[in-house]
């Protein structure tokens, strides 16, 4: 279980967010500038909160009142960046192996085969990142993070740098990853449709604050036709349809009801 309760001032922008998640895939949803990347940066340990606590399965990673801050390399939290960030001087195989080597884990060929099969990157092993397409690069980045055997995987808009066609190419892999790998994930996106397919739980962020929290029904309610037999639900559905896709001008109360 991931527990986050943090505050951080970044210039003019103040981020203050609290949530706990037990779902397999927690979708962190919000427009750009809502503080999503800063929030998972803190979970990864790349950013230090001004105040607050971050813990995972009861193990404290950050606790400002106790002056605890576990550095990123000791957190065992994988991070898939929007721009892949593969090491350009290493081959795909060496990139995939990097986390295992740094953590001094024993070789695990079976796991490696599983991951390369799952992501369909077995044929790319000898190549350099410079010779890969955007979609291939992102799949290798996913594999690299998975093979470092993290206890939590953070995905920061993993499809963000890809065009529509490529997104459709990667999405099935992410769904497979959710269903076949037993690693909990935090999936950051500003795309409701994407999260609807991948996430099991949603945290909504707006201007640095959590505005809603609940199951993915939050999104499903929006796409469903109004239920005539239930005036209350239909009015919510109508309200939900009224807000433009992807915006966050939705009162948390509407979600509380819709998620029931």
């Amino acid at each position: 279980m991931l527990r986050v309760d943090v505050a951080k001032q970044l210039g003019e922008f103040s981020l203050q967010a609290a949530f706990t998640s037990e779902g397999r895939v927690t979708g962190l949803f919000g427009a750009s500038g809502a503080g999503k990347t800063s929030l998972i940066g803190m979970i990864a340990g790349l950013l230090r909160p001004d105040r607050g606590v971050i813990s995972i399965d009861g193990e404290v990673l950050d606790d400002t009142s106790m002056r605890v801050h576990v550095p990123p390399h000791r957190r065992r939290i994988g991070y898939v960046f929007q721009d892949a960030r593969l090491f350009p001087h290493l081959s795909v195989a060496q990139n995939l192996d990097y986390g295992r080597r740094m953590n001094r884990l024993a070789e695990d060929p079976a796991q490696r085969t599983r991951v390369t099969d799952l992501l369909d990157i077995g044929s790319l092993l000898d190549r350099r990142p410079g010779q890969l397409s955007g979609g291939e690069r992102q799949r290798v980045a996913l594999g690299r993070a998975l093979l470092s055997k993290p206890r939590l995987l953070l995905l920061d808009e993993p499809l963000g740098s890809l065009d529509e066609g490529r997104k459709v190419e990667i999405l099935p892999y992410l769904v497979r990853l959710r269903d076949e790998a037993s690693i909990p994930m935090v999936y950051v996106s500003h795309d409701a449709a994407e999260l609807r397919q991948v996430a099991t739980q949603i945290v909504m962020l707006r201007n640095g604050r959590v505005t809603a929290f609940g199951g993915v029904k939050v999104f499903r309610a929006r796409s469903r036709p109004p239920d005539r037999s239930n005036p209350e639900r239909s009015s919510i559905a109508a309200r939900l349809r009224d807000v433009a896709d992807g915006t966050l001008l939705i009162a948390p109360i509407a979600f509380a009801t819709a998620a029931k």
Binding site: R74, I77, H89, M102, P129
Partner: protein, 231 residues
Amino acid sequence: MLDISPTEWTAILLSLRVAIIATLVATPFGIGLAWLLARRDFWGKSALDALVHLPLVLPPVVTGYLLLLTFGRRGLVGAWLADHLGIVFAFRWTGAALACGVMSFPLLVRPIRLSIEAIDRRLEQAAGTLGAAPWQVFTTVTLPLALPGVLAGMVLGFAKAIGEFGATITFVSNIPGETQTISSAIYSLIQTPDGDTAALRLVVISIVIAMGALIASEWLARRATKRLHGN
């Protein structure tokens, strides 16, 4: 013409030895300092930066004299080193290597620093999230990516070291077989009445060495860049 005398050979070999040792010993310090200047903010950083560049702008005689004052037999550091570790720099080839190392240091540090500054720090962050401790990030990501800069710095440093004259002759004098490098040998030869031919021979040899170093560096840099960015 190319009938090289034993004294000249000695000077050539000594020059090569002095320049190679100076470069090899200075490189780790250069990398450390370049990293510090590129990546850390600390009190006195600009002063340190200025100090590193000082040999570039000071008259070489001044640097040589300062070395003599510090590392000479009766110098502050020199006396201590001689008494405790048995290391003597004054009027030895090791002193020539020290002088060359100090004089070439700014040229060695600069390209390394620039190449470290050019590395995408987000790659180092990514390495951290994969479990690499800071020193592992340095050895597996920063250093390999800075390699072209390190090579460029080493070649520049070597070129400077092999041509060094002023600081070396001030610090360790011009003793054939011990501290007489190609440069100081040429200097002695042009002052002797019939040394012209011998001086010219050494001039040709220095040109050959310099060209060789430049070609080698070009080749190495191209190979390193290729290695970095895929075949």
